[in-house]
């Protein structure tokens, strides 16, 4: 188990629901991964989770460190085979698939055309 990052402690709430909080987790983990140190993202104490949070934290880490993230990032204390698990895996999958991410981004952008 690497450097433990307790998500609820870093964001100061049990609600991992906004991108700002996802960015805080990214900023916390970034220096360790940059040094090649392993990290453990601990969901203990989290009560609510959104896709946006997962994309801004886990997804962004996987896209920033595509070569090492698989080996250096461990994620613990969430139920496997749950909707949370799906959101986490989706964020990782999206980071590995920039073409799909671009399609989704363009679809979002289309909602905001003037």
């Amino acid at each position: 188990m690497g450097r433990i990052i307790n998500i609820s402690k870093v964001i100061g709430t049990s609600n991992a629901v906004i991108q700002k909080f996802g960015n805080q987790i990214f900023d916390e983990a970034f220096p360790y991964l940059l040094q090649g140190e392993s990290i453990t993202l601990d969901f203990q104490g989290i009560t609510n989770l959104t896709s946006g949070f997962c994309n801004a934290s886990i997804g962004k880490l996987y896209s920033t460190f595509p070569e090492i993230s698989e080996d250096l990032i461990e994620i613990v204390n969430f139920e496997t085979n749950s909707i949370w698990s799906e959101k986490i895996l989706d964020a990782i999958e999206l980071a590995r698939n920039p073409e799909r991410a671009q399609v989704l981004d363009e679809a979002l952008l289309a909602l905001f055309e003037e």
């Binding site: 609600n15 959104t50 981004d105 905001f112």
Partner: protein, 200 residues
């Protein structure tokens, strides 16, 4: 009939006890994947959405007391329906089919191998995750004089937009939207849409 439009950057989330946020902003806030590094129209809205939700994560009474308001996001039956349907049709299906103009029912919802079920689970779970920031209101349909609404719609006035404007105007709740057609009197509109702002 007064028109009240506020530029998004001038809006202070603490200034209101309640706010209505349209379906497109909900979808962007829940599903943005941080793919783009260039400015996007939806990013300033996500920042405001985040700021509003962030205020709702405060649980310390001392912190809450310091706030002017802890703004609740108003949720209606129609808004939940719009958010889920718009997400599945305009985002999830497009990503699955890789094209803009698929047949929603045939090629996506009823397609055995589509990711419809997973995407439905995700969007409903994402909405549910923000329930602590919401207040649920009834649609007051009969109070809004339904026949009068029917007489007011035309090619420029969408029924749902008109309904929201009447309902939220009646309740004194501002609406955050980027929809250029959302130009109604007697309700406060918060927007970054220049076409809307220049109509002031």
């Amino acid at each position: 009939m007064p028109y009240n439009l506020i530029k998004l950057s001038d809006f202070d989330p603490e200034s209101v006890p309640f706010i209505f946020i349209d379906a497109n902003i909900w979808i962007a806030s829940l599903q943005n994947n941080n793919f783009s590094t260039t400015p996007r129209e939806y990013l300033p809205y996500i920042s405001k959405f985040d700021a509003i939700v962030n205020l709702n994560t405060y649980s310390e009474p001392k912190l809450i007391k310091k706030l002017k308001n802890q703004p609740k996001i108003v949720m209606t039956n129609m808004l939940i329906s719009e958010t889920i349907n718009a997400y599945l049709r305009n985002i999830a299906m497009k990503a699955f089919l890789g094209k803009d103009n698929g047949n929603f029912k045939k090629e996506y919802r009823e397609e055995k191998y589509s990711d419809y079920d997973k995407q439905l689970r995700t969007i409903t779970s994402d909405i549910e995750a923000l329930a602590f920031s919401m207040t649920f209101i009834d649609d007051s349909y009969s109070a809004l004089e339904p026949i009068g609404l029917l007489n007011e719609i035309n090619r420029e006035v969408d029924y749902n937009d008109l309904y929201y404007a009447k309902l939220l105007g009646m309740l004194g709740i501002p609406i955050m939207t980027h929809d250029k057609d959302f130009f109604f009197p007697d309700v406060t509109i918060i927007t970054n849409n220049n076409k809307l702002l220049t109509r002031r």
